[in-house]
């Protein structure tokens, strides 16, 4: 396999402009005869489908949910970055580019990231024109907030529901095209395979999740916008249905899978409460602006708290360890996500965790409440305010800022976070790895594209907050609609693609056999049992910290799980009609194969960078130690037929515009 990034020549800030000026176009009368399949309707998928239809292509959009509006982009809370510099605080396209590369620990492609920063401003214009109700200030102009890992305020937001508002914007654009008949929507359809004809992606096999039918759909190109694979961990902040199947099936058909081990563990999630738990809930990163993170300084206190013999509020200041402030005085509680997560794990592993499971740290708003309370008292002219008065005033301020998050926390944990500190623990949130794509977002299968979280391209080894929404919409609205033309220009005389060809028939048959095979076992284990087992192994050995021995162990365990799965899984019901267990089983089967690849990828990368922390590679202070001489590359894994023996291909990362440095937040 030869990896050609197809990065345009010329200076960094002119690459995209030059590309657009020279890219081939498809004339409107030809576009009408070209069909494009878009799988997934999140930010990337909806925006791509809407844009392609707008341009005149015939589009088929697929989603497994009952409506395109339900894709998991909807759950993003914090915001979306854009280099608008409305705040006049020195932001620019270059700074956004630089912050993203640095935040990604120098493991992403310069040209892609710069393009992302370039188009970011258009996203905001586009969304406002679509009626997305971003937060505004009293002058009626758009408001911005700051986010971790940056020194400017460039994050646009809509309270704690930015993802929802952006997705509904893209969904409305998509709905408009569906209403016009230029997009045909296939909801409750799950992609089961990619069909490749003469080396080109020509369609997909999908299962109609209502009737159970296995259907063939053809197109001149296939665009995968199917999100990330965080659910491989079983417990994650992803939606229950989020899965890797579409991407994984494309991988098995020849698409290289890149940097599989780069997963993001978000530091502020609600801790696990028990075995029954099905998913984890994120608390927005914005909480770290005001909350102080701590654990008890002495182990005895931590033990007493775990045994519920001691309340956190009873612990005096001198017996608390504000470990982020201690270790990173410059950034304090606002260090990037990977750093904050690791620090929490380090304390809990050392025995200082605070809930019954020992896997939680405190996020304390008491001092923020008092600080805001004092200001509020001064503003309101309350002299000699008592401590209680100040606390009451401060509580109101905090409620105004984070009210909905506090409510959500109380709903789940049944504790009042205004009175007692929140408990948080890191949880899987985002996957930087994904299908390898070139500058045009094309995978290694000709005619098969990947956008949004499904591809690997822009975030390197760690994603900055509020950048996922930016990337999804950038890919869908402003990048793919240009780059796909360069390929489709060759397809104008291809004509309609038949689904009667051998390739389709065989692919359909293979899918049917694969599904039927799942019913043939005599086992009794539920699908979730395997998923939980797999998730625990990945979490323990390929989670926040990894080491050689653990990874090797994990690989052998995962192989056992895979073998056992096909022997003993119990899938009730049949092929026809709604069968939610069958859906889960096909997804988990692919997660098992992916899990092994993640471990292999992590094992191969003998360095620590971003979300990938190899215990053997750390500084004396316990910080991540990158090995740029050896690992400044993208690991693009090729499927060989055996899930245990993928072949690694390297794309070297070349930094011409940025000086590669060790990240420091001290």
């Amino acid at each position: 396999m030869k990896l050609d990034g197809k990065i345009p020549e010329g200076p960094l800030d002119q690459k995209w402009t030059k590309y657009k000026n020279s890219v081939r176009l498809v004339n409107p009368s030809n576009k009408r005869n070209i069909e494009v399949i878009v799988v997934g309707t999140g930010l990337a998928g909806s925006s791509a489908a809407a844009s392609l239809a707008e341009m005149g292509y015939k589009v088929k959009a697929f989603c497994f949910q009952d409506s395109p509006r339900r894709a998991h982009s909807i759950a993003a809370q914090g915001g979306i970055n854009a280099a608008k510099n409305y705040m006049n605080d020195g932001d620019s396209t270059y700074r956004l580019f630089y912050d993203t590369i640095k935040g990604g620990d120098y493991r992403s492609r310069e040209a892609n990231v710069h393009r992302l920063a370039e188009v970011s401003a258009s996203i905001i214009d586009q969304c406002v024109a679509q009626g997305v109700p971003f937060a505004r200030d009293y002058g009626g102009l758009l408001d911005n907030r700051s986010f971790g890992g940056t020194q400017v305020s460039r994050t646009f937001y809509a309270k704690g529901q930015t993802g929802q508002q952006l997705l509904l914007g893209a969904y409305s654009a998509l709905s408009r095209q569906i209403g016009k008949g230029s997009v045909k929507l296939y909801n409750r359809h799950e992609m089961m395979d990619l069909v490749v004809v003469d080396g080109k992606a020509r369609g997909i096999i999908a299962r109609n999740m209502i009737t159970g039918e296995i259907e063939s759909h053809s197109g001149h190109a296939v665009v995968l916008c199917t999100g990330g694979y965080g659910n491989v961990f079983f417990l994650s902040t992803n939606a229950m249905g989020s899965n890797v199947t579409a991407a994984w099936r494309a991988h098995r058909r020849g698409a290289a899978f890149a940097n599989a081990c780069f997963t993001q563990i978000h530091p502020t999630c609600i801790p696990v409460s028990g075995d029954h738990q099905s998913k984890l809930t994120l608390m927005s990163e914005s909480l770290r602006n005001d909350g102080r993170i701590w654990v008890p300084l002495h182990k005895e206190d931590a033990e007493a708290i775990r045994a519920k013999k001691l309340k956190p509020t009873d612990l005096p200041e001198e017996r608390r360890d504000y470990y982020l402030e201690r270790r990173y005085p410059a950034f304090g509680n606002l260090v990037p996500r990977d750093v904050a997560s690791r620090a929490a794990k380090e304390r809990c592993d050392a025995g200082f965790g605070v809930n019954a499971t020992g896997e939680a740290v405190y996020l304390d708003f008491a001092s923020a409440i008092m600080r805001y309370g004092k200001t509020a008292a001064t503003v309101q002219g309350v002299h000699n305010a008592t401590e209680d008065q100040i606390r009451e005033l401060g509580t109101k301020v905090v409620e105004g800022k984070y009210g909905n998050l506090f409510q959500m926390y109380e709903q789940i944990v049944a504790e009042n976070p205004y009175k007692t500190p929140m408990m948080i623990y890191p949880a899987v949130h985002y996957t930087m790895g994904g299908l390898w794509v070139n500058y045009e977002l094309m995978t290694t299968v000709t005619g098969c594209y990947a956008c949004g979280e499904a591809n690997f391209s822009d975030h390197g080894a760690n994603r900055l907050g509020a950048s996922a929404l930016m990337q999804g919409l950038a890919d869908g609205y402003f990048v793919l609609p240009y780059t796909i033309g360069n390929y489709l220009a060759d397809e104008i005389s291809t004509g309609a693609i038949s689904t009667k060809t051998t390739e389709f028939v065989e692919a359909e048959k293979a899918v049917r056999e694969r599904l039927e095979g799942l019913f043939k076992t005599t086992g009794t284990e539920t699908v979730d049992t395997y998923h939980k087992k797999l998730g625990k192994i990945i979490w323990d050995y390929c989670g926040m910290a990894r080491n050689k021995q653990g990874l090797e162990f994990a690989i052998s365990e995962i192989r056992k799980i895979r073998e056992d799965f096909y022997k003993n899984v119990k899938v009730p019901g049949g092929m026809n009609g709604v069968n939610t267990e069958l859906e889960k089983a096909t997804r988990v089967a692919d997660f098992i194969e992916l899990g092994e690849l993640m471990c292999l990828d992590a094992l191969e990368r003998n360095e620590s960078c971003g979300g990938h922390f190899r215990e053997e590679f750390q500084t004396e202070e316990g910080e991540a130690l990158r090995v740029d001489e050896a690992f400044s590359y993208v690991a693009a894994w090729e499927f060989t037929g055996d899930p245990s023996a993928p072949k690694m291909n390297k794309e070297d990362l070349i930094y011409e515009n940025i000086k590669v440095q060790q990240r420091s937040y001290k």
Binding site: A50, Q65, I74, G179, M240, M408, E581
Partner: protein, 255 residues
């Protein structure tokens, strides 16, 4: 923490497909923890059912954090259960007692036919949006600068409040008339409050109401149950706004 000790009697609507007849089935479930979410309790019940070799209860769910709008259960006579401002996935078992009997039914409405068990088809909502729930700008990004038109904060906030609708259908499910006005009015309001929505405001409200009527939803008689059970607490002020918009559009259809 996770040691469950609640025993429950569950009465669940089972229906094998859209054309089959369905009925309420009884299930006993023990070892339920008060820390479980309602859907985790259903997961547990399903594990029990699958181990017996029976067909799992089909129900819609996805994000499990109250924002995707997929979960949709009518629990003990109320949409999303007894708590306010939450979806079924955010409801926790601590809201119930040991020994309780819980009725679990799908949304009931002509516009929401049952697909299987507790799953219903809400494509009618999508079709309503397709008929006009958008601003017709192209997706080129070549629009005016985002800050070119200042929008009064109050309008922007109201538009946001309307836009927080998650399209779950609880309004229809709880409305004695199975009316979809809260859903439709939330979208109409969002765009009526923003200058970007103004060029199409008349056409939009006429088309969306027409589609809503064609889908077989009932009429609004201002009962107000929808705003009480809406997990996002969307106000029926939005319905009044839609009534205004429609009235003005009917009297003078051109802008």
């Amino acid at each position: 923490m996770s040691n469950g000790n609640m025993n429950l009697t569950l009465k669940v609507w089972r229906q094998s497909n859209s054309t089959a007849a369905g009925k309420m089935e009884n299930y006993q479930l023990g070892g339920v923890s008060p820390d479980m979410s309602f859907l985790e309790m259903i997961d547990m019940l399903n594990e029990q059912i699958i181990r017996k070799g029976e067909d799992a209860i089909a129900f819609d769910h996805d994000c499990r954090e109250g924002i995707c709008g997929m979960c949709s259960m009518f629990i003990n006579g109320e949409a999303h259960g007894p708590n306010r401002g939450v979806t079924t996935c955010q409801l926790h078992m601590r809201s119930f007692k040991d020994g309780d009997t819980i009725y679990i039914e799908p949304w009931r409405a002509e516009g929401f036919p049952v697909v299987k068990d507790l799953m219903v088809d809400r494509a009618a909502f999508d079709r309503i949006i397709q008929s006009g729930g958008f601003v017709s700008v192209n997706t080129s990004g070549r629009t005016m600068d985002a800050n070119a038109i200042p929008i009064p904060k109050d309008d922007a906030d109201k538009a946001f409040d309307a836009a927080t609708c998650i399209g779950c259908g609880a309004c229809v499910a709880t409305c004695p008339n199975s009316s979809a006005m809260l859903f439709v009015s939330a979208k109409v309001s969002q765009f009526a409050l923003l200058p970007q929505g103004h060029p199409e405001r008349k056409e939009r409200v006429l088309n969306m109401v027409k589609q809503m009527d064609e889908e077989g939803f009932g009429n609004c008689s201002n009962i107000g149950a929808c705003e009480v059970q809406c997990p996002k607490s969307i106000s029926i002020e939005n319905i009044a706004r839609m009534n205004r918009e429609y009235l003005s559009a009917s009297v003078k259809p051109e802008n």
